[in-house]
């Protein structure tokens, strides 16, 4: 029977796929995709916990995460556009102006 740990394992795997995406991608847009994946993984975990503990707070969190993710994407893409106009490319290596 599918237990809570199954769901958590699945969300862990998805989360680490997102992580790999974040680390691997050079293109900023693809980076956004990866973050989306990670957020989804967390949502799954929240939903699973809320289901198995019969408690709505999990879902509440999931809702607010979705809200945040939406606004984050909006603002993120806005910034991306400005970046693109300025640098002409979305590649991370060219955007290394904030050097230490």
């Amino acid at each position: 029977m599918i237990g809570l740990s199954h769901y958590l394992i699945v969300s862990a795997i998805i989360f680490s796929i997102g992580l790999i995406g974040v680390l691997r991608r050079r293109n900023l847009l693809m980076l956004f995709f990866a973050t989306e994946i990670m957020l989804n993984a967390v949502n799954i975990a929240f939903a699973a916990i809320s289901h198995y503990y019969n408690d709505l707070t999990g879902q509440m969190f999931a809702f607010f995460i979705i809200a945040i993710a939406a606004s984050e994407v909006a603002v993120g893409l806005g910034i991306l556009i400005v970046l693109y106009k300025k640098h002409g490319s979305l590649d991370l290596d060219d955007l290394a102006s904030m050097r230490g």
Binding site: V10, R26, L29, I44, A62, V75
Partner: protein, 201 residues
């Protein structure tokens, strides 16, 4: 371990769970691995739909719907526009970082997380803060809690979305009147000078 895997496959929701999880993992890895931005975006959208499948499986139907509408609908749509904006037809040239480091890190974190979650959860009597009431639809339940206990966060989220919207518009809206892709060849700074002279005349 293997036989109860088979038996759970027999049950409907067990099968659905494994189907969904297998598909989402596959699709998500496609978004992460693919060279072509189009493929990755579409696989992302598909995977998100399947994630909403999970929600339905877990009885969080309202959440599933929201997932589809907001996430898949809005977010992916935004990405689509954005992709269009960045002429994503060109294959993204990837200076792939030493993938060994990436996979090592990703793999390590996956391994640790899995091990942690795999361990038997010995939760001692965590009692639910807002217990789900039986016999009533999930949406009504969520609505009850959302608009009583979580009202303030809800309003704050609303304001946040508004701010995000305005920010998105302003950031993207600047200098909408000329298109980047046409005169890509002129150096960007030169463009700015031209613009400045134009404004002055």
């Amino acid at each position: 371990m293997f036989e109860n895997f088979i038996t759970s496959l027999m049950t409907v929701e067990g099968f659905a769970f494994y189907l969904f999880s297998f598909l989402t993992i596959g699709l998500f890895s496609v978004t992460v691995m693919s060279k072509n931005i189009l493929y990755s975006m579409t696989s992302l959208a598909a995977a998100m739909v399947l994630v909403s499948g999970f929600f339905f499986l877990l009885g969080a139907d309202f959440l599933g719907v929201i997932q589809i509408i907001v996430y898949v609908g809005a977010v992916i749509a935004l990405y689509a526009f954005a992709m269009m904006f960045f002429d994503a037809t060109r294959d993204i040239k990837e200076k792939n970082t030493n993938s060994f480091v990436v996979f090592l890190l990703g793999g390590m974190s996956a391994l640790v997380l899995v091990l942690m979650f795999a361990a038997p959860i010995h939760s001692n009597d965590i009692q639910a803060l807002y217990p789900m009431t039986e016999g009533v639809g999930n949406a009504q339940d969520v609505g009850m809690v959302l608009f009583t206990k979580y009202l303030v966060p809800f309003e704050v989220a609303a304001v946040m979305l508004l701010v995000a919207m305005i920010a998105g518009i302003i950031l993207a809206g600047k200098k909408m009147n000329h298109s980047i892709t046409e005169n890509m060849e002129i150096d960007n700074d030169a463009k700015d000078e031209i613009m400045i002279q134009k404004d002055k005349e």
